[in-house]
């Protein structure tokens, strides 16, 4: 099919992963941090699918599905926390919460 080696795939995933990581570290806004974490999770999932493809197994894809589930759960709780935090602070700071 396509002549991509595992190493190339993993390097692409790494680049995306570290882009997300930089995002977590340089952004002060909690919402951006969450999005950056999504990038990291997505990159990890990408690496899994590459690895699964390397071995010709479905396991990598299944792991990706679970990562998707996790991301959904984390985002749900994280956003709920942000909403609550925002409401608690509303009176004093009318901006996005930072921590």
């Amino acid at each position: 099919m396509i002549a991509i080696s595992l190493n190339t795939g993993l390097i692409i995933a790494s680049i995306m992963f570290f882009t997300g990581l930089i995002g977590v570290m340089i952004r002060k806004n909690i919402m951006f941090m969450l999005i950056s974490i999504e990038i990291m999770l997505n990159a990890a999932g990408l690496a899994f699918v590459f690895a699964g493809a390397q071995h010709g197994q479905a396991d990598g894809q299944i792991m990706f599905l679970f990562i998707l589930t996790t991301a959904a759960a984390e985002v749900a709780v994280g956003l709920a926390l942000i909403i609550q935090f925002y409401q608690n602070l509303k009176r004093s700071i009318p901006m996005l919460p930072i921590i």
């Binding site: 099919m1 396509i2 002549a3 991509i4 080696s5 595992l6 190493n7 795939g9 993993l10 390097i11 692409i12 790494s14 680049i15 995306m16 570290f18 882009t19 997300g20 930089i22 570290m25 340089i26 952004r27 002060k28 806004n29 919402m31 951006f32 969450l34 999005i35 999504e38 990038i39 997505n42 699918v49 699964g52 493809a53 390397q54 010709g56 479905a58 396991d59 990598g60 894809q61 299944i62 990706f64 599905l65 679970f66 998707l68 991301a71 959904a72 759960a73 984390e74 985002v75 749900a76 956003l79 709920a80 909403i83 609550q84 925002y86 409401q87 602070l89 004093s92 901006m95 996005l96």
Partner: protein
Amino acid sequence: MTILFYIAALIAIVASIMVVTRTNIIHALLYMVISLLATAVMFFLIGAPFIAAMEIIIYAGAIMVLFVFVVMMLNLGKQAVEQEKRWLSTEGWYFPSLLSLILLLEIGYLIVSGQTAPFNGRQIPPAEVGKELYSTYLIGVELAAILLMAGIIGAYHLARRKKYVVHRFLKTEGAEQ
């Protein structure tokens, strides 16, 4: 086909970089969607069509939309964008970026030093994924169910808006940072 893969990868990476550097959160979210779509293309190309679809439906379609909802709910205006600009213009990002770059180089070095066999190239159809999922990894599905339940309970409790009586001493507690 290979060229297509590289293009998708490039788009995914560039879009990711755009995500972490935007000041307007909606823009960032849109770039994020682009990045996810590009990733989906990669999935499709390496023989994982089912995952490609999931990526678009769940990640781009559901999770990102959740973000958008929250952004709309919080009603963040121009002020927030201004604030982001100010925060990003400070030099706080040099050191973290340097750290990450070194790390990336090291991991890249380790990866490159490994074997370079091309992908197996086998197409894994949705049926196979589903069969595996509901046989070998059945317990995993149950675990995912409990995970989602915990997430729902947590989100439900934390984001409730119902008014409750706050103790009079607690009212004065403000932000610390």
